[in-house]
Amino acid sequence: MEQDINIKITDRDGVTHEVLAPTDMAMNLMEVVRSYELAPEGTIGICGGMAMCASCQCYVLSETELPEMQDDEEAMLSEAFYVKDNSRLGCQIQMTQEMEGLEVELAPES
């Protein structure tokens, strides 16, 4: 059985939450945020996780190694607002054992 990992998520009000994320349910970071209700429903994961809305944009604060950005994520981020060098779309980051200790901050709603 695969283990849950510990990650830190700072919500849009600046509050940091330490949460346990399952790695065996094919969950991505956006879904972890939703499962802990760290952002109001309807303000995150609007497109359902297709890299088509950027409502799950977050800033990666830790040095954790993440999967490389695919074309559609890069294209969406190039159209999104409040984008920084460490921006990623939460829906494109699948939770794996290697992400233990990941720290992210949710980007503002837009």
Binding site: G42, I46, M50, M52, C53, E79
Partner: protein
């Protein structure tokens, strides 16, 4: 005034299936949607994406699902008010509701079914501090009438399909089209990207990438936009481009919008309904179905919206036909009688002696 039996707000899959279920009960429907076409998210966000959890369809494209739903409800002749957002609702003395859109179109019905999904799609506005003071004074987020750009200088910003498609279209209308995008790569249909390349080579579209519009200049109306162009990684140059119109096309994002002020109980950006019975809201006669509602255990799935629509129609029948008897009929048995005079029915079995 448009009058109907059930006024449906939102022409997505749930709203469209409501037309069919209502039709079986001889109730007529009219739909309002802020988008210019039916289908909701399915046609606006992901028409080419396959859906795998529609019962009996192992795989169907979201756009095809919309087409099928339109075909299924066609004989019940739904009315549509598209490209207009439901703005206000007023209860009348006779118990009916009048819903008025942002363009002033009025609709009257005894039952209102909100099938609004995540809300109405509003354009995403770029973060330019003074942009709001130029709205409708040269800045437009949605192209309604392409003719206003005839022989004008137009700047379009964005990197998706709508930015590409409108750049192509307006290159024949406007005197000058400049397309600005943060990257050199565009995300769109291959033929749109190729077409823009071709028009760029012919000098009909001026392409500036990677670049961003960072400010707007003008007195009372737009006169120029300030562009920041990244020549290479470390050198940015800023300059003005004179123009009559600036059209930022950064996609649409859904907002619950005016419905939030209708006196309905709202929780988690959704409308609270009675899921034990009929998906009615706290206001009798107003129902909420599909992704727009919430109740314990709610799942935002198209198939759940279909179920909710079906139960809601039974409740609507009772409101519209008080005291009138009715039992559920199966379409296999009763067939489907369209309001357009068509009839669908199961072929009769043959009764014949075998000698």
């Amino acid at each position: 005034m448009i009058t109907t039996d059930i006024l449906i707000i939102g022409a997505g899959p749930t709203g469209l299936f409501t037309v069919f279920e209502a039709g079986l009960l001889k109730l007529k429907c009219h739909l309002i949607d802020a988008l210019p076409q039916a289908g909701g998210q399915c046609s606006e966000i992901y028409p080419k994406k396959p859906i795998y959890d529609i019962p009996a369809y192992p795989e169907i494209l979201a756009g095809d699902l919309t087409d099928k739903l339109l075909e299924q409800c066609k004989q019940f002749e739904p009315g549509f008010t598209l490209g207009e957002r439901a703005e206000t609702i007023e209860k009348q003395e006779d118990g009916t509701f009048v819903v008025t859109t942002n363009k002033g179109t009025k609709h009257q019905a005894p039952v209102v079914a909100i099938a609004g999904g995540l809300g109405s799609f509003e354009p995403r506005k770029p973060l330019i501090s003074n942009i709001s003071s130029f709205e409708d004074k040269g800045v437009e987020y949605i192209i309604k009438d392409p003719e206003i750009y005839r022989d004008k200088k137009v700047v379009i910003a964005g990197g998706g399909d709508s930015a590409l498609d409108w750049s192509i279209f307006l290159s024949d209308v406007a005197s000058e089209v400049t397309l600005i995008h943060r990257r050199s790569e565009f995300r769109g249909h291959l033929d749109s990207v190729d077409k823009v390349q071709e028009l760029k080579n012919q000098g009909k579209i001026k392409l500036i990438t990677p670049a961003e519009v960072i400010n707007i200049v003008g007195h009372h109306k737009l006169e120029a936009v300030v562009v920041k162009e990244s020549k290479d990684k470390h050198i940015d140059k800023e300059y003005d481009i004179e123009c009559d119109h600036f059209i930022p096309l950064f996609g649409l994002s859904p907002k619950l919008g005016p419905i939030a002020n209708w006196g309905l109980e709202i929780e988690k950006n959704a409308i609270v309904v009675n899921n034990a019975l009929d998906y009615q809201t706290n206001i009798p006669g107003i129902f909420a179905i599909g992704d727009v509602n919430t109740y314990p255990g709610k799942l935002k799935l198209i198939l759940c919206g279909f179920h909710e629509a079906t139960l809601m129609c039974q409740a609507a029948y009772k409101i519209i036909n008080p005291g009138k008897r009715y039992v559920l009929k199966y379409t296999t048995v009763a067939g489907v009688n369209g309001f357009d005079g068509t009839r669908k029915e199961a072929p009769k079995a043959v009764v014949k002696t075998i000698e």
